[in-house]
């Protein structure tokens, strides 16, 4: 029941957002077509879970804990259920999940797809499909509305008066948030958790990826896969620490704080999120942002060098889109090296290899190993 209600509450908020016809913040590169990509949808769910957890803590019908009897108080005035998900980090950052200790954890995206297959449609999920297999967790999976506006209120059947009031108040604000604001609000809650998210990205780079890359480079083996992994994790660390997020977070935070009317929701929101400056303006975050920027530059150069090691024919004239992307990564990476005073690399790709072979010049190879061994948490 608790899971079912949570999904209905989330569906109510999502449909409010999807069916809103007013203006909201534009997200570059993503048209506002009233559809949420799965990542942004899960961020919305994360934000809701945190908020609802705090509403439950502040005003939940929780006396059963002590007395093991049915609640005697008037539950119409209370929050009657907590969110049923474990909010834990997945590959990059947190995701709402369920875990039974036996099987692998199941993400919200997988739960919703599974329910959809059973004909239970709180949302219209369009999973990314490849070779006949659906991948609910793929970033190209989309969440569409499934109910007409006039039926949306039916989603709250059986909810307490207090719950309906809170959900309406949350809905009133969430519907005016752009996708980038939803993403920022879901990703960040406070400095400590954001720092931990970034630390974990670095942790994988340092513990798992760098030793692998070092061994491959030292032995003259291909290293494109590991270089791309380093770039992926460095990029995530960079995005999480980047001040660009501050603007989205700040506007979303301000809108929520100014436009929520219910005292309970405001109190829960204050417990769930801290203001932008407390996350993005700290010395700690600035230092980690710098490190993330450096790591990203290394990742880009490494990925480009690994790619053109295996595709020497495209070094001077990139023809495929992947080659152009990698050439661009090289240019950005080398520019980043200059900015962060990482010296000893040529400005042109040709200077990296021995002639047209796939072999790295010994001096460049040693310099790469040196830079990689300088990675630390």
């Amino acid at each position: 029941m608790q899971c079912e209600r949570s999904l209905r509450a989330l569906s109510y908020i999502f449909h409010g957002w999807a069916q809103y016809t007013g203006k909201r913040k534009f997200h570059f590169g993503k048209p506002d077509n009233r559809v949420l990509p799965i990542i942004e949808f899960e961020k919305l769910a994360l934000f809701w879970c945190r908020l609802w957890q705090n509403l439950w803590r502040i005003d939940g019908a929780r006396d059963e804990r002590a007395h093991a009897t049915r609640p005697k108080m008037d539950t119409q005035k209370l929050i009657t259920f907590p969110p049923p998900f474990v909010i834990e980090r997945a590959k990059h950052g947190k995701r709402p999940q369920r875990y039974d200790g036996i099987e692998k954890p199941v993400t919200l995206a997988e739960i919703l797809c599974g329910l959809q297959d059973l004909g239970i449609r709180y949302f219209d999920i369009h999973p990314f499909v490849e070779a006949g297999t659906a991948y609910p967790n793929h970033y190209k999976t989309e969440v569409h509305p499934t109910l007409p506006p006039e039926r949306r209120s039916q989603l709250l059947e059986g909810f307490s008066g207090a719950e309906v009031k809170c959900l309406d108040d949350i809905d009133n604000v969430v519907r005016r948030l752009g996708t980038s604001e939803i993403r920022a609000l879901g990703t960040h809650e406070d400095l400590q958790e954001t720092m931990r998210d970034i630390e974990l990205e670095f942790d994988v780079i340092v513990t798992d990826l760098v030793p692998l890359a070092v061994s491959r480079i030292a032995n003259g083996q291909p290293f494109l896969d590991v270089a791309q992994d380093i770039l992926e994790y460095a990029d995530e660390a960079y995005k999480k620490s980047c001040a660009d997020r501050k603007e989205d977070y700040e506007s979303a935070y301000g809108l929520f704080l100014n436009d929520t009317k219910d005292a309970l929701v405001r109190a829960a929101f204050s417990r769930s999120q801290v203001e932008a400056s407390a996350i993005f303006d700290s010395a700690q975050m600035n230092a980690v942002a710098l490190r993330a920027e450096q790591a990203r530059a290394v990742g880009k150069v490494l990925a480009a060098v690994a790619y053109f090691r295996d595709h020497s024919d495209e070094r001077s004239q990139p023809r495929s889109s992947k080659a152009r992307e990698m050439k661009h990564a090289w240019d950005e990476g080398i520019s980043g090296f200059g900015k962060h005073n990482i010296l000893g690399f040529p400005s042109e790709l040709d200077g990296v290899y021995v002639g047209s072979s796939s072999q790295l010049r010994p001096a460049i190879r040693d310099r790469f190993l040196e830079v990689l061994s300088g990675f630390h948490r």
């Binding site: 803590r57 804990r65 049923p84 834990e88 590959k91 200790g101 692998k104 798992d208």
Partner: protein, 523 residues
């Protein structure tokens, strides 16, 4: 049907018994025979029928059940020398079990994971586990998931049972009955890994408790079996430092549990159970003093000793230190409120005079029990002497922890939820890192980690958290393991860890947390 055959068929045999496939083929209806009598009847019949040379008990509840039966008013007639714990198989000499008639006993089985592990271990020790002439498995109650026997490397090992094909609800109910029986028999502390000595409180109980608080921190609570329990915790202060020379080089003696449990056995008789498990470096021979070597024997101090054997041996040595602290405090602050009853020889104990520590041989196969008795007697004598010199001297008693039983029990549930949640989060993180959800076993939190949870979440001092540990262990909701950990720096430590006891408890805790959320942090 003659008598022998009749007794054969009272208890079903796995997948090929007379009652194969039946939901329940017991001769008594569910719940009509008291649980203790039913288990006694089952085990006794197995012993009579099978006439084993050795009984191997599955830790920890299986051992506690056996001890409850062996120490009851109508005891099972069996010698502790012929009981082996499932935890010590790897410490036995090769060939020590081969050719013997072995009876494996456990109270309950769900998936049979622990039994399968044990059978694999026995196979390594040359036991033909598939031979019905050498090995018999007797499990009192079996869940429907493993009622057809336990598969070990392709062979189905059948088991005798009293109840089987139990669904989860019936299985859980029966588990509760067994735990309650144990609590009434003397708590889950009826194990075979802790030494204990008995005291009689002949004077004022409050003065006795105050004496325990002389240098320790004590909490008094009532267990579910209405027994008085006291948890006395010793901090890492100068009085309670463990001498590093007692243990293998590199042993971690701080931020571990150093405590004494005082459990009411009957009336005014209490058991003092000192508990201390330092974390030891893995794969390192213990070059110990001769007296320790004599006490613990080759399974702990020899070159072939396993990490687990060494860990428990170090724990027993450390517990003797804790015993000295507790007795010294009692003799210093309340010498007239109690009398000590020292353990006697196994032979005397068997004849009904006093008690003995023969059960420790189950966990410490090469322990010299007589030597241990002498060691304890020496500690008692010295503590009495030291205590008399300390009478009236500081330090002052630590203040009592003012928490009622109701609050303690409520917080114990909260702590269990927090431990379970921490472990689940670790498993989830591990999955996303490795994309592999096979959880290693054991997989628990160290005492230090649990103390941190207690401090951060409940603003609890260590003694309160330690008391919550004891409540959970007595309820059989928390189980301990010996786990190789990462340790500090490059030294790999073997540590004691804690986790919710099995799938049934873990699942119940998860459901409770999902429904009611994690406990609120205490401001």
């Amino acid at each position: 049907m003659n008598n022998a055959l009749a007794s054969d068929y009272i208890w079903g045999i796995g997948n090929e018994g007379l009652f194969g496939g039946a939901r329940q083929a017991d001769i008594d209806a569910f719940g009509t025979v008291p649980i203790k009598a039913a288990i006694r009847r089952f085990l006794d019949s197995q012993i009579q029928l099978w006439k084993p040379d050795r009984i191997i008990v599955l830790e920890r509840k299986g051992t506690a059940v056996l001890r409850a039966l062996m120490e009851s008013e109508d005891p099972i007639r069996w010698r502790w020398e012929d009981v082996v714990s499932s935890k010590v198989i790897e410490q036995l000499q090769p060939g020590e079990l081969s050719g013997k008639r072995i009876l494996i006993f456990d109270d309950m089985m769900k998936k049979g994971v622990h039994l399968a592990e044990l059978l694999r271990e026995l196979r390594k020790h040359g036991v033909d586990v598939a031979s019905p002439d050498h090995l018999r498995v007797a499990v009192f109650a079996v869940h429907e998931e493993s009622s057809r026997g336990t598969e070990v490397e392709g062979t189905i090992i059948p088991h005798a049972w009293y109840r089987r094909c139990l669904n989860t609800q019936d299985y859980t109910d029966l588990r509760t009955q067994i735990v309650t029986m144990l609590q009434h028999s003397g708590s889950l502390m009826l194990d075979t890994e802790h030494l204990e000595i008995r005291v009689n409180i002949v004077g004022n109980f409050d003065k006795f408790v105050k004496a325990l608080r002389r240098t320790g921190r004590a909490t008094v609570f009532t267990s579910a079996g209405s027994r008085v329990n006291i948890t006395v915790l010793y901090e890492d202060d100068t009085i309670h430092l463990l001498p590093t020379g007692d243990f293998p080089d590199g042993t971690k003696t701080d931020n571990i549990v150093k405590k004494c449990r005082v459990v009411q056995r009957s009336g005014s008789e209490f058991a003092l159970i000192p508990i201390c498990f330092p974390s030891i470096p893995a794969a390192q021979v213990w070059h110990c003093k001769q007296e320790v070597s004599t006490l613990l024997g080759r399974s702990v101090v020899g070159v072939e000793a396993t990490d687990s054997g060494r860990f428990y041996g170090v724990g027993l040595r450390a517990a003797l230190r804790v015993l000295r602290w507790v007795l010294r405090d009692l003799y210093a602050a309340a010498p007239h409120e109690f009398t000590v009853s020292l353990p006697g020889s196994v032979e005397h104990g068997r004849l009904g005079s006093g008690y003995h520590l023969g059960h420790l041989r189950v966990m410490y196969p090469t322990l010299d029990v007589g030597y241990l008795n002498k060691w304890i007697a020496r500690i008692e004598r010295e503590a009495q002497s030291e205590g008399s010199q300390l009478q009236g001297k500081r330090p002052e008693s630590s203040p009592a922890t003012p928490l009622r039983d109701e609050v303690l029990y409520q917080r114990a549930i909260g702590l269990l939820q927090m431990i379970s949640d921490h472990l689940d989060r670790k498993r989830i993180a591990q999955f996303w890192r490795l994309l592999d959800h096979s959880t290693p076993h054991p997989f628990g939190l160290t005492a230090e980690e649990v103390f941190q949870i207690g401090e951060q979440h409940f603003r609890g001092d260590k003694v309160t958290t330690s008391t919550l540990f004891d409540i959970l262990i007595d309820q059989a909701t928390l189980v301990t393991h010996v786990q190789p950990g990462t340790g500090l720096g490059r030294v790999r430590l073997v540590e004691r860890t804690f986790e919710p006891d099995g799938e049934i408890v873990s699942e119940a805790v998860r459901r409770y947390t999902t429904q009611w959320g994690l406990p609120d942090a205490i401001d």
